[in-house]
């Protein structure tokens, strides 16, 4: 049966779809046109589709292919948004260009070819008439490059929350460029507000300088207690932004300041732990200001995956069979929708997709040679997992 499906895979179709999708800009916030395109494709394979707006003009798109009997339910997940084009491209970022075996364009590797490979698989399964048990589905969610409102909305729906497994068609290709994640760090974005007391700037002793107190906290961030995880090591801490003081010039002791700190969490560090840790640090500094430690979206719990989970085992076998070598794994410093699916919801996840080239940068590209094996792996994972 798998051979029948593999015969129906059409790598020319993958390339054509990739080109067409690159020509549909879908920068975060503007995902609707691409979602419509994908919906049309899914319909053409006879799948039952759904369009779910999670914000004005921003739909998630879903498609379901039901098997012949009850069984596990596996979803292929992609995000439909890309980062903005940015500058310094040698070609038009929204026109796919193939040169020297590489396909260039915004979203080439992050992640329109991933979508194309999965569509190729769905088409091949539909065209082959292959039978399987359970359910195969596709989800294209918005906003992954920002705060993931798409993936969070998807997990609001009982039918998606009850999935058995998710294949994230991201550019984790299992070699040294992007080993397969055996878990991901979590993340918290601290939003720290410091309230002091205004006074004339010539009489600082009569006020409490919120900017200076904020700086004391920032200068002491190395006293946060980062826990050590045997596989991940420790998380990281990075101040992303600060602002405080006058908007129109005036010589006043600033009464408020604000800063944001990104912190990657390793398993064993919950969001609550991270909040408590910052509270403790602030307390120890004994500042005169009042400090409010809050969080801003996005926040993600960390998770670890086991190589012995069924979907991870299936991926390992399929990868060896198709690529002729075992995949590399790592406990990854990064955030994907798997933080939500597996970290929050406990659905087993794997990441596999074509190798990335200049993701988020100019001249983003993918090597065409990666598309056929990825489509084949998707098909083999589907059949293997649902078997």
């Amino acid at each position: 049966m798998i051979d029948d499906i593999l015969r129906h895979l059409d790598d020319g179709y993958t390339v054509r779809l990739s080109e067409e999708m690159i020509a549909i800009p879908s920068v975060t916030g503007d995902e609707e046109a691409l979602a419509l395109y994908v919906q049309e494709k899914l319909e053409s394979y006879g799948m039952e589709t759904e369009f779910r707006y999670v914000a004005d003009g921003r739909p998630n798109v879903y498609g379901v292919m039901k098997g012949s009997g009850s069984g596990k339910r596996l979803n292929y997940n992609a995000h439909t948004d890309t980062v903005p084009a940015g500058d310094d491209w040698d070609t038009d970022p929204f026109k796919a260009v193939i040169k020297d075996g590489k396909l260039y364009g915004r979203g080439a590797c992050d992640m329109k070819t991933g979508i194309a490979c999965s569509l190729n698989m769905f088409k091949a399964i539909a065209d082959s008439g292959a039978e399987f048990r359970g359910e195969l589905s596709f989800s294209g969610v918005v906003d992954q490059e920002a705060t993931d409102i798409g993936a969070w909305a998807m997990m609001e729906e009982p039918k998606w929350r009850s999935l058995d497994g998710v294949v994230l068609t991201y550019s984790y290709c299992g070699d040294e460029t992007k080993p397969i994640p055996l878990g991901l760090t979590g993340k918290i974005l601290y939003n720290v507000k410091v309230k002091g007391k205004a006074a004339h700037g010539f009489r600082p002793h009569l006020g409490v300088n919120a900017v200076e107190d904020a700086a004391s906290i920032i200068a002491n961030l190395d006293k946060l207690q980062l826990k050590e995880h045997p596989d991940f090591g420790t998380g990281t801490v990075c101040t992303l932004k600060t602002e405080g003081g006058y908007t129109k010039y005036s010589v006043v002791v600033p009464e408020s300041a604000r800063f944001e700190v990104n912190r990657l969490l390793v398993p064993g560090e919950s969001i609550q732990y991270a909040l408590d840790d910052m509270e403790r640090l602030v307390e120890e500094l004994n500042l005169e200001s009042t400090v409010e430690v809050g969080v801003k979206p996005p926040k993600y719990e960390p998770y670890t995956a086991s190589k012995h989970e069924p979907l991870m085992r299936t991926l390992d076998e399929v990868y060896r069979a198709v690529m002729g070598r075992p995949p590399l794994y790592e406990h990854a410093y990064g955030i994907t929708n798997a933080n939500i699916f597996q970290g929050e919801q406990g659905i087993e996840c794997v990441h596999i997709g074509p190798q990335r080239g200049n993701a988020h940068g100019p001249n983003e590209h993918v090597k065409l040679e990666w598309l056929p094996p990825v489509s084949e792996m998707y098909a083999r994972i589907a059949l293997g997992y649902l078997a």
Partner: protein, 389 residues
């Protein structure tokens, strides 16, 4: 008392001063919009027979100068006022640009800060002219723009001939009593503008970048180590006024740039250069990875301090005591005036005296009508004795 001063005092016309004050309140001159008032004063001083001059400091923002040349060489004294007022604040009970007399009060924007003082100067100058007496040296007037902002008017004046005078009397509402002692010196001020440049990297791998915001945080949390010299009259200090750094649109990137501003109150002996050097030394001692550029932003004001035995101060003390019946009260202050430019930068001895301060910079600003005549008298006595008429 010389014959001249007796005649001058006789010619003082306090009704004229009040009339001029009312006219000036009716001419809005919120900082930036000083032109109409400058023209008004030029015309008034012209009509008194002085040699006048408009000096465009910035487009549409003229200083106005006028002088009465003595009959023979001698010392030169300038009476100074700033033309601008602060903007209208909320809560006025009357139209800020319509003078309202309520008993002894005259209410209006700039009534004490400092159109009242300028009116007293006009009264004095007019009386000197009307007395018809000769005197040595030069008696002059300067009306400058921008005092309530960056002091650009005074700074421009310092570069002209009017910046070479021997003494300046500023008509600021300092009454030299317990309520509002007059300045014998004022701290200076410099605004550090500090740029921190690090290196961007993905925010998940901060070790690959240099975080400009965090490096700025290290500097700010060490400002306590900034070297500030001791001074017998003053205490210098610092206060961070502003910081900004990091993303504009949310992205997880190690910030490559951060900027912050720190106000330094300086004491005599400190210069722009010494203050910058102190910050450079502090930063060098911190061993930061980021590149730090220590600049300064306007406004800059030099500090100054005079002793009570300074001849101009002595002369003021005598004149004041004679008119008021009590000795003046002096103070070393930290509120900036154009004297920071004239005395601090130009080294010209300065005295502040003006009518009653009824809430400068506040709603319903007023001065007391009966506080104006003695000010005109002190001015006249000072001019007479300084010029040696």
């Amino acid at each position: 008392m010389s014959a001249m001063i007796e005649d001058v005092l006789k010619e003082l016309d306090d009704g004229y001063a009040v009339k001029k004050l009312k006219e000036m309140i009716r001419i809005p001159s919120v900082v930036g919009d000083e032109k109409e008032l400058a023209h008004y004063l030029r015309d008034e001083l012209d009509s008194l027979g002085l040699e006048t001059e408009l000096h465009e400091v910035q487009p549409g923002r003229p200083n106005v100068y006028a002088k009465l040349q003595g009959s023979r060489p001698g010392k030169r004294m300038n009476f100074n006022g700033h033309l601008d007022t602060v903007p209208v604040v909320d809560g006025w009970d009357t139209d800020p640009f319509t003078p309202v007399v309520d008993g002894n009060r005259i209410i209006g924007l700039g009534s004490n800060d400092m159109k009242g003082g300028i009116a007293c100067i006009l009264n004095t100058i007019r009386a000197v002219v009307e007395s018809g007496h000769n005197f040595p040296g030069e008696l002059s007037f300067s009306g400058v723009v921008d005092e309530e902002a960056y002091g650009e008017g005074a700074k421009a004046m310092l570069k002209t001939g009017y910046g070479k005078v021997d003494a300046i009397v500023l008509a600021e509402p300092q009454t030299a009593d317990e309520l509002k002692p007059t300045a014998l010196g004022i701290t200076g001020k410099i605004l550090y503008d500090i740029h921190v440049r690090g290196r961007a990297a993905h925010g998940f791998s901060p070790e690959l970048g240099v975080n400009a915001v965090e490096q700025a945080g290290v500097i700010l949390s060490n400002l306590g180590k900034l070297k500030i010299p001791e001074h017998p009259r003053f205490r210098g200090n610092y206060s961070t006024l502003k910081i900004e750094g990091g993303y504009k649109r949310y992205s997880v990137v190690v910030p490559a740039y951060c900027r912050f501003e720190v106000n330094r109150l300086t004491v005599p002996g400190e210069t722009k250069e010494s203050v910058i050097r102190a910050m450079d030394e502090l930063i060098a001692s911190l061993g930061l990875e980021a590149d730090v550029d220590v600049g300064v932003k306007p406004p800059y004001y030099a500090p100054y301090a005079m002793d009570e035995d300074e001849p101009l101060v002595q002369l003021f003390k005598e004149a004041y005591t004679e008119v008021m019946g009590v000795e003046p009260v002096f103070e070393y202050k930290s509120s900036i005036t154009d004297a920071n430019t004239f005395a601090g930068e130009g080294g010209i001895p300065c005295i502040h005296l003006g009518p009653f301060d009824g809430g400068a910079h506040q709603k319903n600003e007023y001065t007391l009508l009966d506080s104006m005549p003695p000010v005109s008298r002190v001015y006249a006595l000072m001019a007479d004795r300084f010029l040696g008429g």
